[in-house]
Symmetry: D2
Subunit: 350 residues, 4 copies
C-alpha cells in the first residue's frame, strides 16, 4: 500500500526534528517572543526582500485564514473569495464564525479572474443601494489554489491593481506556497508576491513542518495588538518555539525551497506516469497536487493499493481524485505507482 | 409626483393608529407579556389553525431572520437559501454576524426548486469528507420571494418533505405573507403553511403596520428561553404593547387580509396598465411587487413623475425597477400612472 | 390598583400619537432617510449645542448599547462598566454576543468613581503582561444610573479626563437622560454632556415615546458605514419615520424636557410621601426612580394595591423595590399612594 | 542565569521527541483519525477509569477552554468562573469572542467555594426576573488553580452536586492537572475527577509536551459533530499525529505522572529553600507553582540572576512573583537557587 492521499501524511522533514531536539533544553520565553522566532522572522523578511515586513506564526491554515481575515476586515465588510476557495467551502464556516461573510465569486480552475473581480467591484458600487449589503473589504486568493493551479504574474498584478483602486487588502493563502514557487512554469517569485500582496502566509504544515504557518504583513499593516487578537481566538501557542524553530530551520540553507522542489519533481514524474497510462486529468496543475478523473469501478480497484483523496463527484460514473506529493515522496513509491498503472512498462513491480 | 417605491412608504393602516390611541393610557406590562400580545397570539393561532403554536413578536424582518436562524441552528450548521434570498444579499451579513454561513443555492424566479434542494442535500451527505464543511441545518425560503413570486402547494410540500427526511426545519420568511395569501392564483393557505413550515413569520411592517413581525413556531419548537435569546440580540422591545396592539388589530375582523387584498387588486390593475403600455415584465409576479425592464433613458424620464425602486442592472442600456402597491395605494395614484404611461387612453390626466 | 412598576407602562405621550396620525399618509423614504428624521437630527443637534454631531435613531436601549459598543470597540478591546451597569447584568449578555467583554468595576450607588477608574487604567498598563488581557477600550456609564443616581459635572469631567488621557471614548447610556437633566440638583446640562461624552443617547422609550433612542456622536466619530453595521445587527427599522417623527415631536417646543419635569415633580412628591410614611430609602435618588427597602410581609400586602418592581433581595426578610414615575403619572395616582401609605393623613382616599 | 519563569520554558520531555522521531516516516491520516490518537485515547480512558469517555485533542489551553465552553453552552447561557479564573482574566476575552459571558464569582485562593456557588445559583433562580440575565450554564474550575491551589475531594464533590442539581455541566481546566494529581496532600485521583466532572482536560503543554491538551468528555456528552465545531474555530490540526503521538507517549509507562512527580519534588525542595530564607508566601500552594511576596528592590536584584514571572502588584512596595518547576528543573538549578537565597548555607555556590 502506498499513499498519495495528501501532503501531510508524514511527520516533519528530518532537519526540523533535528533542530527541535538540539534546542530542546534551551530556556526560551513563550508566545513567540523567543530568539528562534526572531531569527525565523529575519530570515523570512530577507527571503521576501521585504525588510519592513511583520512576520507572525500561527499553527494551521484555517486558523491563519480566520485570524487574518477577521482582524483585517472592518465591521461592515466581508471577504471576496472564489466559490471553490478554502475559506468558502472547507473551513466549516470559520470565517462566518468571526461574524463576516465570504462573498463568493465564480472561478476558473480554482482562480479568481481579474476581470470578474473588477466587474464585481464596479457593480457593487454602481448600485446606489448597497448600504444593505456586505461591503467587499478584502480579496482572498490561494496560491497554489485548491486545484493546484497558479496565478501568473500578470494575473496577480491585475488583481492587486483592483484591490489598490478600491483600497482593500489582497490576501494570499499560501498553505502550499512552496510548491507554487518551485513550480517550473511560474513567473511569480516570493519577492513579487510580497510586493503585490498586503498579507500572505508561507505554509509550513503542508511543506514539511509538523505544523505552522508564517504570516507576512508586507505593508506595515499588522493589526494593532495582534498578539491579543490571536490570544482572543485561542490561537496563541504557549511554546512559540515550536513554530520559531521549525521556520528557522525551513529558512536556513533554502530547506523550504528544497522540500518544495523535491515534491514538484515527484509530481512531474507522476504526471508523466498518468499521461502514459492514459488517465484523464481534471485540469492542468503545475504543482504537487494532481487531479484525475477515474471511473468509479477503476477507482475502487486502485484504492486497494493506493491511497488517494476523494475530491468531488465528476458524474454518475466518474470521480475526481487527488494525488499529492510531498517532501516524503520517494522514488520507490513512484516506481510502485508506475508498476501498477503501467504493468508492462518495465517499471519495478511492487 | 406619485410613489410606488415600496410597500413601506406610508405610515400604518388607520385602524392600527386608532387602536394605539384607544389603548394608550392603559397600564400594561412590558416585553411582550401584556394582554394585547396574548390576544394577538390567540388570534394568530386561530388564523393558522395551529392551536399549539408559539407566537412571538419582533420588530423587523432582518431581525426576525437573524434571531430565528441563529437560535434554531446548531453550532456546526448553516442555513440553506436561494442565492437571491434576502438573508443572502440584502441583510448586510446579519446571519454571518451570528456566526453562521448562508449556503446559497441556485434559484429560479427567486425560488428554490425542490429538486435542486434534494440534490444539494444528497450530494452533501454523499461526500464522506463533509466534516470540514458547514452542515445544512435549516432551509430558508421567502413567500412571496424577493421577486414577488410564490411557491405552489406542491412545491412547498416537496421542500418540506426534503427537510423532514433530513430532520432540519423549514423556515418561511413571510415579510409580505399577506400578499402571498391574497394573490389570486395561490393554492397555499395560512393553515397549509403552518402545517408545512416549522417556523414562519407573518409580516407586519410591509403589510400595514408601523413595524412588527409575528413569528410562529408551529411544532412546539420554540427555542428554550427564547426571550433571553431575543434580549441578547438587542431585539426585545420594552413596550411590547406596540407590537401586540398592532397584531391584535391586524387579526381582528380580517384586517390583515383586507389590507393585503387591497394591495393585490391595485397590483392587478397596475399590471394591466403595464401590459397595455407594452412594458416588459422581468418576470411574472402574482403579488404586490412588479418588476419591469426599462430602457435607461426612459427610466430617467419616468422618475421625474414616479418614484420606483432600482432593482438591478439588466444590461448596459436597461434596468430592472420595482413598482410596489400597499394598503395606501389609491385609485387616484393608479389613474395618474395610467395617464402617464397611456397618455391617449382616456385615463384621467395627472 | 395603581402601578409605579416602571416608566414604560403606558403608551406614548399624546402629542407623539397626534404627530404620527397627522403624518401618516405622507410618502416618506425608509431607513432613517426621511425628512422627519432629518428635522429631528437638526433639533437634537441644536439642543445639544453640538452642530457637528451625527445623530442616529435606534429602537431600544439594549440595542443601542450593543450597536454602539460593538461598532466603536476595536477587536482587542472590551468596555469598562460598573458591576451594576445595565450592560453588565440586565442585557442577557448582549455585549458578549458581539464578541466583547464587559470589564466590571466596583461601583458606588450605581456610579463609577473617577478615582477607581483611574487606578484601574493605571494598573492595567502597569502590568507588563497585559497582552493576554482584554484592553479597556471604552467607558460605559449610565446617567441616571440603574439606581436613579446622577453624576456631578465634576465627576463626569474627571471620568472624561481619564478617557481622554488613554484615548478611549466615553459613552453615556441615557435611556432616562431626560430625568437626569430635569432633576433639581443636577449641574449637568445637555450641552455639557455633549461636550464631555464621545457618544451618548437620548432615551425615548422610557421618556414618553413608543420606542426609540437617539444616538449622538459628538466628535465626528460615527463609525464608517454605520447604517450597514446597524443593518447587520438586525437593528435598522424599515419605517424609520416611526423614530424620526417621535423625536421630532419630543424636541419640538421642549416636549422632552416637559415630560421629564413632570415625572421628576411626581417623584419629588412621592419621596415626600415615603419620608412621611417612614419608609427606608435604599439610597438617595434625585430622579424618577425611587428604591425602597420593605419588609417582605409588608411588600406582600402593598402589592395587592400597588404594582412595583422587585429590584433585589436586601436580606432574608427585606426586599428592595423600585417605584417609577413617568409622563403618565397623575395626581390621582399619587393621592391614592398617599392614602394607602398615610391613611390618617387627610389625603384623598382611594 | 537560571529560570523558574514558567513550566513551559523548555521543549518537550525527551521521550516525546524520541517517539516523534521514531514514527516520523509512518503514513498516517490527518485530523486526529490516526492510530496514535486512537491509542492515546484508549490509554487515557483506562487511566481515567472511564471506558465510555470521548477523548479529543486540542493544541492549547485557551483554545480548549473556548472550544469546550462555546460548544457546550446553550445560546442563553454563560459560564460561571472564579474572578481570578484563567477564562475570566488571562485569555484576552476568548470566551466572550464566542458570544458568551463569563459570570465571575468571588474566589478564595483561586478556588470557587461550594457554598458561594450554591448561593449564587439560588439567588439567580430566586429572582423572578432573570430572563434578562445570562443564565449560569456551566461551571468552570481549574485544578490546580491559577494560584497553584487544589480542590479537595469534598469540595469537588460539593461543587459537582450543585451542578447536578441545576443540570449544568462541571468543567475542569486541567492545564496543569498532572501537578495536582502528584501533589502530596491531594485526595483527588484521576478516576475521581472523571466521575465528578462532566468534561475536563489533561494538560500537555505545561506538563512536558510541545503542545496539546487531551479533552475528556466523561458522560457521553461530546457535542454533536465536534470535529466540525473544532474546525470552525480554526482549532483542528492537520497533522493530528503531533498530538496523538505525544499523548500516547505521555500515557505509556506512566510518563505523565513521572514528569509531574519530578516537578512536585522540585517544588517541595524549592519551598524548603524559601522557608529557610524567610521569604513570604503569598499563599500555600501544594503544586509546582509557588507565589512569593518580594520587596520591589529585592525583586530587582534577584532578577539579575533568576528569571521569575511577575504575578501581581501586592502593594506600593511589594510584588507577588511566581516560581514554577517542571520536568526540566534540575538539581543544579535548585542548588544555585539555594546558594543565592541562602549564601552561607553550604549549598553549592553558583
Amino acid at each position: 500500500m502506498i499513499s498519495f492521499e495528501s501532503d501531510y501524511i508524514a511527520g516533519a522533514h528530518p532537519q526540523i526534528l533535528k533542530r527541535l531536539a538540539e534546542t530542546n533544553l534551551e530556556t526560551l520565553s513563550g508566545y513567540g517572543t523567543d530568539s528562534y522566532c526572531e531569527s525565523a522572522r529575519e530570515k523570512i523578511r530577507a527571503a521576501c526582500g521585504c525588510p519592513q515586513a511583520d512576520v507572525e506564526f500561527l499553527v494551521g491554515g484555517t486558523q491563519a485564514n480566520s485570524v487574518i481575515i477577521s482582524t483585517m476586515l472592518r465591521d461592515f465588510e466581508g471577504v471576496v473569495a472564489a466559490k471553490t476557495g478554502h475559506v468558502s467551502i472547507h473551513e466549516a464556516g470559520a470565517i462566518e464564525f468571526t461574524g463576516h461573510k465570504v462573498l463568493e465569486l465564480p472561478q476558473k480552475d480554482g482562480k479568481i479572474e481579474p476581470s470578474v473581480l473588477k466587474k464585481f467591484m464596479e457593480d457593487f458600487y454602481a448600485d446606489g443601494n448597497h448600504e444593505h449589503m456586505v461591503f467587499p473589504g478584502m480579496v482572498y486568493i490561494s496560491h497554489p489554489t485548491e486545484y493546484g493551479t497558479l496565478y501568473t504574474k500578470k494575473e496577480l498584478t491585475d488583481i492587486a491593481a483592483v484591490c489598490r483602486s478600491y483600497q482593500i487588502p489582497l490576501f494570499m493563502d499560501g498553505a502550499r506556497l512552496g510548491y507554487g514557487l518551485m513550480s517550473r512554469g511560474t513567473d511569480l517569485t516570493l519577492e513579487e508576491i510580497a510586493k503585490l500582496c498586503d498579507v500572505f502566509y508561507i505554509g509550513g504544515t503542508k511543506v514539511g513542518a509538523l505544523c505552522g504557518e508564517a504570516v507576512v504583513f508586507t505593508k506595515q499593516n499588522r493589526p494593532a495588538h495582534f498578539m491579543t487578537s490571536v490570544k482572543k481566538r485561542g490561537a496563541l501557542l504557549a511554546k512559540g518555539r515550536l513554530l520559531g524553530i521549525q521556520f528557522d530551520a525551513l529558512f536556513t540553507d533554502g530547506l523550504y525551497f528544497e522540500i518544495s522542489r523535491h515534491a514538484i519533481e515527484a509530481a512531474e514524474r507522476m504526471k508523466e506516469i498518468f499521461k502514459r497510462a492514459g488517465l484523464a486529468f481534471y485540469l492542468e496543475s503545475p504543482t504537487n497536487q494532481q487531479f484525475i478523473i477515474l471511473e468509479n469501478s477503476r477507482l475502487e480497484l486502485l484504492q486497494k493499493d493506493i491511497a488517494v483523496s476523494f475530491w468531488e463527484k465528476y458524474d454518475e460514473t466518474h470521480t475526481v481524485v487527488r494525488f499529492a506529493t510531498s517532501w516524503s515522496t520517494t522514488d520507490e513509491q513512484l516506481d510502485k505507482l508506475e508498476a501498477m498503472l503501467l504493468p508492462g512498462s518495465g517499471a519495478r513491480e511492487a
